[in-house]
Symmetry: C2
Subunit: 295 residues, 2 copies
């Protein structure tokens, strides 16, 4: 199948699963539910849940087992977007070409919707543990543990990112921010897929390396798009990083240096997957897609 077609199928699958968790009943906190739904269903790329599922599929066919964790990670991702956009943090007005949560609703609602989405992820995981067979508990608990640690890293990375805004920072700090703010969650996704599919330790390590490389590639591409992307396609302003003197991979390595690094990382990531042949074809294409996407 064509990659774009397969990606679309995965996205539809994830959107369908997420929709099952949207709460629509009449209740006093109806607007909070609408606010959570607004961000969760705003039409992101669903990269994180897709990574969970596609990694799982290298080893096992029936994906039902990994779905709740795929859903949970997308909830966490959206929680982080809602809070990062808040006036007290990045003060962003648009996301995916739509008003951000606090613009569409209000600040109190956005804070609590973010809290609600983070906590919802753990509701999903706890329900899954409660309904689980005894023999599957051990790997699911390991997954839960890695999940909570990766979310912690993400929050810390976001904090440091906020701290250094407008300041000159070292390459070390840039690396630190990326590894924690974006990298930790992407790596987690691949690891969750592998752990739940009971992949052997050496596969877990190989796939972790793949994830770290595409995670860094993803960030570098983001920085490149922020510099020279198409505002209309991206759905957000371009060139702001330069105005705000943000330290990015583009400001560190220059545009061509960043592109070279992106090229190399993508190549290395794909090499990690050679051993899986056609079973990892989608993940190979995904690495290329991350490099080539225009939004």
């Amino acid at each position: 199948m064509d990659f774009k077609e397969e990606l679309k199928q995965y996205q539809n699958l994830v959107n369908g699963e997420l929709a099952k968790y949207v709460e629509t009943k009449k209740c006093p906190e109806e607007m909070l539910n609408r606010s959570m739904e607004y961000s969760l269903m705003a039409g992101g790329k669903r990269l994180r849940p897709i990574l969970v599922i596609a990694t799982y599929q290298i080893f096992k066919k029936d994906i039902q087992e990994c779905i709740p964790f795929a859903v949970a990670i997308e909830m966490v991702h959206n929680f982080s977007l809602v809070h990062d956009d808040l006036p007290g943090i990045d003060n962003d007005g648009f996301r995916h070409g739509k008003p951000t949560n606090h613009k569409q609703f209000n600040e109190a609602t956005a804070i609590l919707a973010g809290d609600g989405l983070l906590n919802y992820a753990y509701r999903v995981i706890s329900k899954n543990l409660e309904d689980s067979n005894k023999e599957d508990l051990s790997k699911k608990i390991k997954t839960f543990q890695e999940f909570s640690e990766a979310v912690d890293k993400m929050i810390r990375g976001e904090f440091v990112d906020t701290e250094v805004e407008g300041k000159q920072i070292s390459e070390e700090t840039l690396e630190y921010i990326h590894k924690n703010k974006t990298g930790a969650l992407l790596t987690l996704c691949v690891r969750m897929g592998a752990i739940l599919a009971e992949a052997p330790q050496e596969d877990l390590e190989r796939l972790t390396s793949y994830a770290e490389k595409i995670g860094l590639a993803f960030q570098i591409k983001d920085d490149i798009l922020s510099e020279e992307g198409d505002e209309k396609v991206l759905g957000k302003p371009v060139g702001n990083d330069k105005i705000l003197e943000k330290c990015t991979y583009v400001s560190k390595y220059g545009l061509s240096g960043a592109k070279e690094k992106l090229e190399n990382l993508t190549k290395e990531a794909i090499e990690e997957l050679q051993i899986y042949h056609e079973k990892a074809e989608f993940l190979v294409e995904l690495a290329k897609y991350i490099k080539e996407r225009n939004k």
Copy 2:
């Protein structure tokens, strides 16, 4: 032992356990850690973890098993205070007589410290599950599930509370806010203690009823203190509810009506504990303390 002395001992125990989770190492996100510590160690009453432990002790002596859940619930409680105080929600400047988190640090830090505290609770739980004996997993997973659901209720209650500020609300809505915003977490604490100590179903129900009654009593007492408490003792302004036309149990029933309701609830809560005789003595005294406290 004198109740006040016993309460102090419990508080010291909880503070000692919480201190073990404070992260002090040098790192780029050091200020985030200090911000989380600032709120976590600000010297609350520790009512929630104490409820977990004291309920557990009705059935079992060695409390080690319930400590991580007691710690986790105090983290959640503090997360909710940090976010509720934010400019975008209640915009409060003081808590426990000290500047609120966003006043002491800044808004971005307070948002992320709150997120970090909520997530930390789940890190503690997941670590505990991972280190657990197989035979204890089932009750711990049940506890985790009730935990995540109660936190969800708390967030929803807070949302509705924010929504109705300055509006006339029905008794139903007042009840809804209390049950979710404050009641759910207090009830959870008692239930966690009972579930972890493997209390039989009828005890679980009896103790749930005790928890619901003291939870409501706690809220009514809070409203009474907000109306006629001592600002210096409380560490926050008195009389604001009236000025803001907040709907409270005092505005609904009048001061004497609220006091009567408080009296009855306390009596009923204590009656639920008769069957445990001296084993529940602390919880009996705690119910009286909630009624009589001046802060």
